[in-house]
């Protein structure tokens, strides 16, 4: 089979993995050296496809032959898809060619399980080793980790790659048993543990060889089973705390061709995915706890964002005086982001903050107005009940979900 035909099949097979980040790598440069590639911590989105997602890495499978039969996966062994397999040299050639053209900032390589978990992991490592050692490639490398692979192999991968990821895919044991019978929750967590310990071993030792400097990530599928947002977010929180994960990706389940009856055929729940990302960002960036955003069970509201939802449920905290309140509290005002908080704090050192200043800072005042006090403004609607406010602030529901079938 020709390289271009393999590329078509193996890119198509890899598109369901949401992550395409190339950020967080240490500073590397090829200036004046043999080889190619640089990283500086900032990711670059080299293109966008009409699904609105960024193309930052060459994201392919080494092969989509697979012994597993995960029901949600287009490459499961019972799926009727065309199959292909790259040689490691072919992946290297594609990576270097696209990199030279400035189409990508690196490689994200994953694979179906062939022969055994160890064999598959060895093949992935071989590609990374060829790139790093034969071709002096200093760009970004993200390797998928096969959970059941030997810990020694995972450690070897961690020394070559900027990022490793082990996908959870389904967040509960029951769903895994039902939809991914060959996978086990405890081996997934074990693999995460191996990576986390590898990172801890070199933490604070600047001379030690690097180990996954851009951290580890994982992905959960949203909407393939009945798991609610509360379970997803609590799960994410425990992963951030327990394994120092950099990111949890949420991938709205896209219907797959030749779909088995066990998974839905509905359009991907894109708005639900979006709300989960917003809530996840509140966990990572703003210091919210999962328990503040959702009760024991339930889903995030779709019509308002989770930060606004929290503010409406905690009206006693507001209105906040932007001239006095702690920065951490300012960041909890709907419509005022972390950057605006920094700028407000800088401005209020010089003088009193007025309402007009928030306009200049491009805060979303429609949202912020009921929750703030400035030197020349105090909300008249302060007495408004949360229910009324919510009715006014809810986002019009785009008819997109229905239109998908039009």
């Amino acid at each position: 089979m020709q390289l271009i035909a393999k590329l078509g099949i193996l890119a198509d097979a890899a598109k369901y993995d949401a992550s395409c980040a190339s950020s967080g790598a240490p500073k590397r440069s090829s200036r004046g050296s043999e080889g190619l590639g640089a990283t500086d911590g900032m990711g670059i989105c080299h293109s966008y496809t009409p699904d609105g997602r960024c193309v930052s890495l060459l994201k392919v499978l080494l092969t989509n032959f697979c012994l597993y039969d995960c029901q949600y996966c287009v490459n499961r062994r019972s799926s009727n898809v065309p199959r292909a397999r790259f040689t490691p040299e072919e992946v290297v050639r594609l990576t270097l060619d696209f990199y030279r053209r400035n189409c990508i900032s690196g490689l994200f390589l994953s694979s179906g399980i062939i022969r055994s978990a160890d064999y598959t992991m060895e093949q992935l490592i071989r590609v990374a080793r060829l790139l790093r050692e034969e071709h002096n490639f200093r760009g970004y490398i993200h390797l998928k980790t096969i959970p059941d692979a030997d810990p020694l192999l995972i450690e070897e991968a961690g020394r070559l790659a900027d990022r490793l990821s082990v996908n959870i895919e389904l967040p509960t044991d029951a769903s895994l048993k039902r939809l991914a019978p060959e996978k086990q929750a405890h081996t997934i967590r074990q693999a995460m543990g191996v990576i986390h310990r590898g990172q801890q071993a070199v933490a604070g030792e600047p001379r030690a060889p690097r180990f996954t400097p851009a951290g580890q990530s994982t992905q959960v599928i949203v909407g393939a089973d009945a798991t609610d947002d509360s379970t997803l977010l609590r799960n994410a929180e425990s992963l951030y705390q327990g394994y120092g994960l950099k990111r949890v990706y949420y991938s709205a389940f896209s219907p797959i061709p030749d779909s088995p009856g066990s998974v839905p055929l509905a359009a991907p729940p894109l708005l639900r995915e979006h709300r989960l990302y917003q809530a996840d960002f509140l966990l990572r960036g703003y210091g919210y706890k999962a328990g503040e955003l959702l009760g024991e069970v339930g889903n995030l509201a779709l019509d308002i964002d989770p930060k606004l939802a929290w503010a409406l449920a905690n009206r006693e905290v507001f209105p906040l005086d932007v001239n006095r309140a702690d920065a951490a509290l300012l960041a909890r005002i709907p419509g005022i982001g972390l950057r605006s908080v920094q700028r407000l704090v800088a401005l209020r050192r010089e003088r009193r903050v007025r309402y007009d200043d928030l306009i200049q800072l491009r805060c979303v005042l429609d949202k912020a107005r009921p929750f703030i006090i400035t030197s020349d403004y105090r909300p008249a609607e302060g007495e408004l009940r949360s229910g009324l406010l919510r009715a006014r602030l809810r986002e019009p529901q785009a008819p997109m979900q229905m239109g998908l079938w039009g």
């Binding site: 198509d12 043999e34 053209r101």
Partner: protein
């Protein structure tokens, strides 16, 4: 009114601004030429001689903000900078903060400029030259790009980090830059032959990249607005994948969004794998 022309060079503007500030000349009394159109109301008065009596002190951070914002092509390009400088030099530091009306515009320009540098890093597409031509021109890679602001000179070093000893060239409608593996050659006016090489390079290899682009797209998640927000249409015509965008959107709208698979894969014969013997 003092009418000045800094030839869109920051260093020239800075010298002029320093003199003006030293003589206490109010921003309302000075005007910088903008391209070929002179300010019709500005009666040319000469720049005063000497540094002037007023010794202004401004924070170093301001100078770097002004230099960034100076790369912005737009109305009042140089006048705005002088107004900010004037206010800060006279004790009003809010003029350089985003909360202020003028400072907000300054920061908007800085942000646009840095966004445009990022666009350069993201959307430049190099075409590899075939061996014989590469040898003759002493160039491995060429690219044509059309930035909205003057960022080519300051933002191109990025590619020397990425491409090691490769020799490359980026041409734009205004300026151009060339790297021979060791040193840069920046030209404010791009030589015409550079432009020709960059615009006419033959690129059969781009088909691999277009194949990848078609297949990594998930038609079940069609969201053309997000694409346009992050990758404005003005860049499409210099991207090898640009011509695919309307085509893929059209296919997805006509029903290819029931699942995520590309048409080219769906029409191929599939292969189920037999259950492994335990």
């Amino acid at each position: 009114m003092i009418a000045l022309d800094c030839n869109d060079l920051f260093a020239t503007w800075r010298d002029q601004a320093r003199t003006l500030l030293g003589h206490g000349i109010d921003p309302a009394e000075v005007s910088w030429a903008q391209g070929p159109i002179d300010d019709l109301l500005a009666v040319p008065t000469a720049l005063p001689d000497g540094p002037g009596p007023f010794r202004a002190k401004v924070p170093a951070a301001l100078l770097s903000l002004l230099e960034q914002a100076a790369r912005y092509r737009g109305e009042q390009r140089w006048n705005l900078l002088y107004e900010v400088l004037w206010r800060v030099a006279h004790g009003d530091r809010t003029a350089m903060l985003a909360g202020d009306r003028l400072g907000s515009e300054l920061h908007r320009r800085v942000k646009q400029v840095s966004r445009e540098a990022h666009h350069l890093h993201a959307f430049v597409r190099f075409v590899p030259l075939p061996g014989a031509l590469a040898e003759r021109l002493q160039l491995d890679l060429v690219a044509y790009h059309d930035p909205a602001h003057d960022i080519l000179h300051s933002a191109s070093a990025h590619f020397a980090d990425r491409l090691g000893r490769q020799r490359w060239l980026i041409a734009t409608p205004q300026d151009g830059i060339r790297f021979d593996g060791q040193a840069f050659d920046y030209r404010r006016d791009c030589p015409e032959d550079w432009r020709q090489w960059a615009r006419n390079a033959d690129d059969p290899g781009a088909e691999l990249w277009r194949t990848y682009y078609r297949h990594t797209f998930n038609p079940a998640r069609l969201n053309p607005d997000a694409l346009r927000m992050h990758m404005p249409g003005r860049f499409w015509r210099h991207l090898p994948e640009g011509m695919l965008i309307p085509q893929l959107e059209g296919l997805a709208r006509q029903g290819k969004q029931r699942d995520g698979q590309a048409v080219e894969v769906a029409v191929q014969r599939g292969k189920q794998i037999t259950r492994p013997t335990p």
